[in-house]
């Protein structure tokens, strides 16, 4: 199934900068890398391990600690699925290299196979963060033998296959049918959005199905003890179940059987994907970059098209136009802002028939408790910080200029103004995400409107924070040498840096919320003071060091 051409192509893709090829060739890049990774990762990991510890020991009291493995694997799979979806749409359909492959004697399954493998490699990062600590923690506390770790390694290697293949199948199917009309690019974007929702929707549907199915059996399984609950939690992605069982029973033959089933299924899914790609992939790709006939401007109409704006407004609008019109940028910078807030709708869609029953109604009740105000504000602001940091708008604002950066250096616009325009584009789009999130909270979760209003006002602070950190990162470490837009945003380490920094900031907000949980006023004031101070500090850095740095960049 893995022939030489697929393998050769995979190597070419990796060497050509798809996947994780972060070049740290300057001293500055190394310092940045060490500083950010060295500070954020250990502190995030520390918090995460504390969390694992808590879950593990609570589960251990009911002799169900093994469930943590299947939970870990399931959450891992969902994260891989969501990030993988973005990656697949970008890499399979919008990356410039496809044009170069089409004339070569390569089969669709070889391109898909290679791009799939690169995606799997990329998603190992997620597994390393989410699953690996659980695997190791469990192994240590259960005094597991060598075989456990060998099984663990195999599971780690194969776990991304199902979620990515599942995502790829949905994407390919939808792209096959949206590849028409002269507005091809627009339809592709819409196709990408539909694919995202179908995928995530299906995912949640499976979960709710599994949840309903098991309402009655959970009680019985609980009584059985001995990790029997893990059967339930791993229904989200079917292969998770065998993977978890293999790890739980590694000492006995059942473990090996489960491992073999898991490996076999993963391989099977990969083969199905390849055969499917033969049927639909090229039909979805061919003609992607064709442009179409447009409207004609008559001399007398010219006046109506002219419009004068201030330099900053004009520049900001340009940034926004480019973000919206470049499919790769749209998916990774714009859409992601809207996708995150929409996630919180999904639980509503899958609740049991009577909405007054179950966990959700408890949550709704909680939202209206006065005691919960501080927590609601804290958690929402933490979420806004995370969402703002993950969109990569400012973290790729300089990188996106690529080889055309020189244009921005010869126009008579000060670097200060240019940075302002780029930051504004980031704030505007991040804030749209904030507005959507809060509207959903008000209208669907019955959040009191005054809290919504308060959040709308304070919510601007974290979007400024993450926009400033992003632009600073990208000014210091821009990725200008790229040949496809995909590389400017998807393979840009600054996006990862900004996600890490914003996650750390979100965690800090979480800690404050927890520390001051007795007083909502104190929580809110502390958070506002903290973020405002950070904003001011960053403002200073951006407009002193940042502008100097922009000047030094050689386009």
């Amino acid at each position: 199934m893995m022939n030489n051409k697929t393998w050769a192509l995979t190597k070419v893709l990796i060497k050509n900068g798809e996947g994780l090829s972060f070049k740290l060739n300057t001293k500055k890049a190394w310092i940045l890398f060490i500083a950010i990774i060295g500070i954020t990762i250990p502190s995030l990991l520390f918090g995460y391990i504390k969390f694992i510890e808590l879950i593990y020991h609570s589960l251990a009291t009911i002799n169900q600690q093994g469930v943590i493995l299947s939970w870990g694997l399931a959450i891992n799979s969902i994260m891989i699925f969501i990030f993988g979806m973005f990656y697949i749409i970008s890499s399979f359909y919008f990356s410039g290299d496809i044009e170069n492959f089409l004339p070569l004697p390569i089969k669709p399954k070889q391109i898909v196979g290679a791009k799939f493998l690169v995606t799997v490699l990329y998603e190992y990062l997620i597994s390393a963060f989410i699953f690996l600590p659980i695997l190791i923690y469990y192994g240590i506390y259960e005094s597991a033998g060598l075989l456990y770790y060998i099984y663990g390694l195999i599971v780690f290697a194969l776990i991304p296959i199902l979620p990515i293949a599942f995502g790829a199948l949905i994407v390919m199917l939808i792209m096959r049918f949206t590849n028409f009309s002269r507005y091809r690019e627009l339809f592709k974007i819409i196709g990408g959005v539909i694919a995202m929702f179908v995928g995530i929707g299906l995912n949640f549907a499976f979960q709710s199905f599994a949840a309903k199915l098991d309402q009655n059996t959970i009680g019985e399984l609980l009584e059985l003890g001995n990790n029997s609950l893990s059967v339930v939690t791993s229904r989200m992605f079917p292969t998770v179940r065998w993977a978890a069982q293999a790890l739980l029973d590694y000492k006995i033959a059942n473990g090996l059987t489960n491992l073999l089933i898991f490996c076999g299924l993963s391989a099977g899914i990969y083969i199905v994907l390849l055969y499917f790609s033969e049927l639909v992939y090229f039909k979805g790709v061919v003609g992607l970059s064709e442009s179409s006939a447009r409207s004609v401007v008559l001399d007398e109409d010219l006046g109506k098209l002219l419009k004068k704006n201030s330099v900053i407004k004009s520049y900001t609008l340009n940034e926004l136009r480019i973000l919206f019109r470049t499919p790769i940028y749209f998916l990774n910078c714009v859409l992601i802002n809207i996708i995150w807030p929409l996630f919180i709708i999904l639980p509503l869609l899958i609740t049991p028939d009577d909405p007054t029953q179950g966990d959700l109604s408890m949550l709704l009740e909680l939202l209206r408790e006065p005691k919960a105000i501080g927590m609601i504000i804290g958690i929402t602001l933490a979420a806004i910080t995370f969402i703002g940091g993950s969109n990569g708008i400012t973290a790729t604002a300089i990188s996106r200029e690529g080889k055309e950066l020189h244009i921005k250096k010869h126009i008579p616009v000060s670097y200060r103004h240019q940075i302002t325009a780029k930051v504004l584009a980031g704030i505007v789009l991040s804030y749209i995400g904030v507005v959507i999130l809060i509207l959903i909270m008000i209208f669907l979760y019955k959040l009191p409107w005054y809290l919504g209003l308060l959040l709308l006002v304070i919510g601007i602070l974290p979007t400024i924070l993450t926009s400033f950190t992003g632009i600073l990162l990208d000014l210091y470490n821009p990725k200008l040498d790229w040949d496809s837009e995909q590389k400017a945003v998807k393979q840009n380490i600054n996006v990862l840096y900004n996600i890490l920094i914003s996650t750390a900031a979100a965690a800090l907000i979480g800690v404050i919320t927890y520390v001051f949980k007795s007083s909502a006023v104190l929580t809110i004031i502390s958070i506002i003071v903290l973020i405002s101070l950070l904003d001011l500090l960053l403002y200073y850095l951006v407009y002193t060091k940042g502008t100097v740095r922009f000047k030094e960049l050689e386009g």
């Binding site: 442009s291 010219l302 098209l305 004009s314 019109r325 244009i407 126009i411 008579p412 000047k551 386009g555």
Partner: protein, 251 residues
Amino acid sequence: MLLRLEVIIVIYLENVSKTYSGGVKANDQISLTIPSGRIFGFLGPNGAGKTTMIKLITGILAVDSGRIEVNGIDIAKQPLAAKKQIGYVPDTPNMFLRLKGIEYLNFMADVYDVSLDERQVRIADLCRRFEMTKVLKNPIQSYSQGMRQKIVIIGVLLHQPSVWILDEPMTGLDPHSSYVLKEMMREHVNNNNTVFFSTHVLDVAEKICDEIAIINKGKILFTGDMAEMREHFRKNESLEKFFLELTHDEQ
């Protein structure tokens, strides 16, 4: 024909050096004065340092040492004022591809602070001359190479800069547009303005320029008019080979 306009020094370079981070000297101790009312050609083979020089004059790169003035304004000291004097056409016109032609022109007009009335007149005039009006509402991405070149030229001329700097401007232009551009360059210098352009094709330089400078390996080998250049080449045998290379490049 003997109308004499006052000749002003428009572009002034004094001992300009630029070394790239790899240690490659792109420009080495270059001094150059370019007067007004001339089409000044910058001739040299590919990789001679022409583009680097243009990037230094337009403020895209900073000099390591030396001084550059445009219309008497030091580009290092007053970058924005100096940049406003210049209309610069880069060698690759693949920029702002996701914007529509008209959006790009509005952006450039905003950036160079061109009033609405002025842009009305100039966009209409330039687009008519380059036959670009019809396609203004289409994305630049859908333009051919030549059309992209033309929209960029229109964009940088909207603010009526006194100094035009064009990097290999004839590449990719169709014969008609190339003719229009040459005509416009001539008109521009007739109004006592300056055109500075680079080319690696001797033939282009010969046909258009009033004066040329020849650059190779970051050093200026010659400055003067066409007749002086031929004379210079005849006397200097080592340059003759170089001259042949440039001639050869035409093919």
